[in-house]
């Protein structure tokens, strides 16, 4: 190899190594978003509590009890790049049978739309920004499933949730987590 070709080869080798090791373009940063926790029901518990007797007698189908079905997902953004959550997918699973609930969308689940802007960091006073996505994971068909199946009190229901969005630099965003719904008599 000639002396003149050596620098070019070195640069090419460095670039190849960077690409192979998953190089990130410093001029095209991504949002750094993680899921923190859920705030469920009127008392902001970590899991959602559903009293089955209130489902069977129709109490939870009314606005007066709406707060009991509330779910808030707290998302933290540790980057200066903002992002927007545009939708979320929920796969409902019976903990007792271990299978996705077919009347609630089966293994594909249900996709719902909302919109929340996850602010990026714009100063050094905090390590992340805190953002709360307010959702209604419990649907009419899930309430019907609980009403029609008394065994749901044996373990409850798991909701596998995927949040979908895009950051301000155009990168797709997907965050997965699971919410547990505890059903009791």
């Amino acid at each position: 190899m000639s002396k003149r070709a050596l620098p070019s080869c070195l640069i090419a080798a460095v670039l190849a190594l960077s690409a192979a090791s998953g190089c990130r373009n410093p001029f095209d940063p991504e949002a750094d978003v993680i899921f923190d926790r859920f705030f469920c029901g009127a008392t902001y518990t970590y899991v959602l509590l559903i009293e089955r007797v209130k489902v069977t007698n129709g109490v939870l189908y009314g606005r007066a009890e709406e707060g009991k079905l509330f779910v808030g997902a707290q998302l933290l953004n540790s980057s200066s790049v903002s992002a927007t959550i545009k939708s979320y997918t929920v796969v409902y699973k019976d903990v007792y049978t271990g299978a996705p609930i077919s009347s609630c969308g089966g293994s594909a689940g249900r996709r719902f739309y909302s919109s929340l802007y996850l602010s990026g960091l714009n100063n050094n006073t905090s390590a992340y920004t805190t953002n709360l996505l307010q959702m209604k994971v419990v649907t009419n068909e899930l309430l019907d499933h609980i009403k029609n199946n008394a065994y749901t009190i044996n373990g409850g229901i798991d909701c596998e949730i995927s949040f979908h969005g895009v950051d301000d630099n155009g990168h797709d965003l997907k965050i997965d987590t699971t919410l547990h719904i505890e059903v009791y008599e």
Binding site: Y61, R63, R110, F112, Y113, S114, L116, N122, M135
Partner: protein, 178 residues
Amino acid sequence: MKRALSLIGLAGLFVVLNGCRNPFLPASDVFISYLYGPNEAGEVSVYSAESGGTMFSISNYRSFAAFVVRNKVGINITSLTMVYTDMAGNQVTEYSKSGGKSFKMYTRLYPVQSNSEFSAGEGRVTTVDFYPVDRRVITELATVSSNTINCLLVFRGEDDTGHDIRLSASITIKGYGF
């Protein structure tokens, strides 16, 4: 001389290819930061018990879109189109025949006027009311599978420097007790 002209031509070509923006005619930098329905959720809930007869109240379904303008160019929002789809993405309700429900409106999204507006967030916030639920939507909620309808919102308008503005977002309408 020829070389200099070639360089200028090349630079001009690069600028055009990169999507040059005229610095003397900036477009508004705006986005929708949040959609929220009434009663603490980013979605809209419809309960069968309060959706019929005299129990129907449009204020139960009043929803908001929060817009944020990040520069000094304001916007006038002049129309809103709402397209309703089922969970599979097919258009539903009577409005599907006309491609959705459209109406004119006039809302001013004010521009940033001082740096203090960036200290608390990303820019200047304006909230706009909209009402995604009416009788036809409730009729559809009762029949559509999963009692759930997605509503695609398209806000259109023009910014103060004459650029067309089109902002879209979706919100889910969930029916209970149907």
